[in-house]
Subunit: 341 residues, 2 copies
DNA sequence: TTGAAAGCGGTACCAA
DNA sequence: TTGGTACCGCTTTCAA
């Protein structure tokens, strides 16, 4: 509908060549103040907007970034998106968003699609965990949250190990010795590091690891719900539980309610990541807070920086690790008892 | 990085002209089976992907859709996005997402940006409420949720009036006469219709409208929280409350908890839109369920249909209204009393 | 059935 | 300081 106006129209109207119009548009070359004014006036009058596709064809730059996430429904991902979009738009970049459903096939589809070609760089929460896949991407990519060692890419992650370690330590310091973990798969650094943090804390405080207290599954609410029920039905149930992500934590909270138990008195709970229910229940559930929005910010900044650097390939990958914070509320009962270490 | 391979490379490798390659690529023209095979083989070997920008320049089609929403953080909007993306990708369209922060300026910025030029059509949850703004958009647009009469655009909405009416009626049928509403601004059809539905139900059952029971504000949680507190502190507090959206409903639930009241027994509650807390509390809060994902689906389908129709401008705008459903749980106390009508 | 070439809307080099 | 023009990668007439 309605044919768009082009640089030629501007040139004609201003009585100059298209080259001149291009010059004032990009503010590069020396153009007489008079012509500049004249052109700018016409641009305004005609409401001229350059055709970015034509520009891209010759400049090989699209001024577009992509953010690729598993799903849009998780607040963590939307926070990352928001962080990226905010930085990008400030720097004159548009952002397109793509979701992979955390599925390797769909992610691969993105990287083979034209969409990938149409962006200058990518912020990615990846579904693959083989370095080779990432190595084959010939565009700047910043990995967020999940970092793949050997991918050769930059990344922004949080200190998963420390978060899990501190959570577990906090429980131990409150006298707990029977501490369960409900976690996701050990596929990426997030699952692996959180599990490792939990284990290390037990080890450091000389607490035996009890396999029954370790519930591995997916990262979704139902896993948290079912696991919590199973744990509490054990002949010797744990006194405390570490829920390794936001969805799992919500599941555990629902299970605790359905079991007619009281958080903090009947069973202690610490979650990884803030979530609506942890915030709502009374007492509030202690959680590891991680800088989600900031992760998006940093990822975009790293990406833009890579873009500025251009072709200089002799660059080592950078991994930025952001700290986490344990928000202590009333969900952990102090069992007394001595604390070693 | 790594110069992409072009149609010329394919042509050269296959010993044919670029025109021929173009033909087999688009499967349009008559090409001999032999050449077709040959070209397809080379395309595969070289892993050739056409440069969509070059294609777009000549076809004037980008195969891209935009979804413009206020924010990504609201599950309602992400559901709409998901619906649109699903349909679009099935039809070979990519989708870019843009957020306006529900701000007229930012929305206008999108429509002046190059991004708008780069998409074939737009699914929009608009921030403007003046028809003129929408009339000036020379691209197919489908309005979702908020419909602007006189915009001349297609739209997909839900039956806000009925949802509010049924909610209020449900309360009335359970013997309530002192029914409050906590609502958002009366700027768009959503706020207006829900308020109207509430009023109409009162009127139909000959219940006096009490201004004190009507709390107008924004659509956010805090408005729900504060308003609920104010309502319950009235010398003659309402026996039931209708919370006109998901965020407001969450706020009321928190307020009820902080007031140490019991949902269903101390005060009855019906919310518009499902939400995490309504689902969590005991008893669950009755809510109006609306087909969010389906709204995205329908919007995308309408848009794609418009795209197929092309330039035929002599088309009347279509507004599709989807029904809503009242999910009844235990949050409404039966006060007995007779029901007229 | 196939190829040559114009043109989409810009940029940037080379001349003037 | 300005203009002419080749070119970016592709589609699409027009001829062969």
């Amino acid at each position: 509908m309605a044919s768009e106006i082009t640089i030629k129209d501007v040139a004609k109207q201003a009585n100059v060549s298209v080259a001149t119009v291009s010059r004032v548009l990009n503010g590069l070359d020396r153009v007489s103040e008079k012509t500049r004014k004249k052109v700018q006036k016409v641009v305004k009058e005609l409401n001229y907007v350059p055709n970015t596709m034509a520009v891209s064809m010759v400049t090989k730059q699209t001024q577009m970034l992509a953010v690729v996430v598993p799903v849009f429904e998780n607040p963590f991902y939307t926070a990352v998106i928001k962080g990226t979009v905010d930085v990008a738009s400030q720097e004159g970049y548009h952002t397109v968003v793509f979701s992979t459903n955390d599925n390797e096939k769909e992610e691969a589809a993105f990287f083979m699609s034209s969409l990938k070609r149409n962006v200058d760089g990518i912020v990615l929460i990846g579904a693959h965990n083989n370095p080779e896949f990432y190595q084959s991407i010939n565009k700047p990519v910043i990995l967020v949250d999940r970092y793949i060692e050997g991918s050769g890419l930059d990344g922004v992650v949080i200190d998963n190990f420390r978060g899990a370690y501190e959570s577990t330590k906090y429980l131990i310091e409150n006298g707990h010795r029977q501490i369960a973990i409900i976690s996701g798969p050990q596929t990426f650094n997030d699952g692996i590091e959180r599990y490792r943090g939990y284990q290390q804390a037990l080890k450091d405080y000389e607490i035996d690891f009890i396999p029954e207290y370790s519930k591995q599954g997916d990262w979704f609410e139902d896993h948290g719900y079912q696991s919590m029920k199973e744990l509490m039905n054990l002949s010797n149930p744990p006194t405390a539980v570490f829920a390794a992500n936001n969805m799992i934590c919500q599941g555990t909270i629902k299970a605790i309610r359905d079991l007619n138990l009281q958080i903090g008195s009947d069973v202690s709970l610490v979650g990884f990541d803030e979530n609506t229910l942890a915030d709502f229940v009374n007492p509030r559930v202690s959680v590891i807070k991680r800088p989600t929005y900031e992760m998006g910010i940093h990822a975009a900044e790293m990406l833009l920086q890579r873009l500025k650097q251009g072709e200089k390939k002799d660059l080592v990958p950078r991994k930025l690790t952001l700290g986490v914070e344990l928000l202590k509320y009333g969900s952990v009962k102090n069992l007394g008892g001595e604390i070693n270490a």
